[in-house]
Subunit: 140 residues, 2 copies
Amino acid sequence: MVKEYSIGQLSKLCDVKVPTIRYYEEIELLDPPGRTAGGQRRYPQAARDRLSMIAHARDLGFSIDSIREFIRMADHPSAPCEDLDLIAEKHLSDVRKRIKQLQALETELTAMLKSCDHGSVAECRILTVLSDHDQCKTQH
Amino acid sequence: MVKEYSIGQLSKLCDVKVPTIRYYEEIELLDPPGRTAGGQRRYPQAARDRLSMIAHARDLGFSIDSIREFIRMADHPSAPCEDLDLIAEKHLSDVRKRIKQLQALETELTAMLKSCDHGSVAECRILTVLSDHDQCKTQH
DNA sequence: TCCAAAAGCTCTAAAGACTAGAGCATTTAA
DNA sequence: TTAAATGCTCTAGTCTTTAGAGCTTTTGGA
């Protein structure tokens, strides 16, 4: 007998709030699950995997649209190579851009913390760094 | 005579859309500027600096509320710097976590592209990577 | 088996951070 | 001087969630 999950169980397992799960169904990011005689949702294991993937990708900062592409990719592993290649490449460059931006941000935040040596705001460079783009250690 | 900017000039200089500038004024992130006889906004240099700071901070991922804190502290320069420090620290650890996650994803996407190179159909591991935390090269 | 509590259902509305459009007024530059 | 560009306010929409009201279904213990 196959294990099924209620929406609440899925919510806990994937750390996604119940209304969010219903929202994902509404925007067709999740397939509509089966229902009990009383109308309650019952999810198969596959739904758990997918929701977990969505949650993880969201956490990584991917847009819903990007996730739709991931899903499309995953659902058609036999699609022509060029198509897959193109989609993957687009996402890879996205990921790399994101990493670069975050590394720039890391550098700046580290510099801010270093210069903010628990003095008063008068000497705190966080505000200076934030106001003046030329002060940035990196481009973005 | 002091240089003043129209809202459109400010928009171009700071790369912030015109309605967004008005929105920032509405939520009191920007001081209401002076007006011409005809009622158009005219911004002093200081407004440009502030908007530039706000835009930069938003770009770095700070929330409006965090920015409010920065501004509040800028207006009270004798206050201790620790609060500001805390905000930056919180962001820094967040940023580092995200960098690690994305680097793991980059690895997977690169592998996918490689397997696509020989004209054969890629075995799509992206969904697995995204769903299964245990598969990740790094912790998060 | 019965019943209260927990969990689920739909629907509406809000939050945060913008963004777009309608319809009109003011500035600017040829 | 006059047409184009820009600005004004106001309303309403976007996207991704999240919360609440009011009702129904499930579940677990007596």
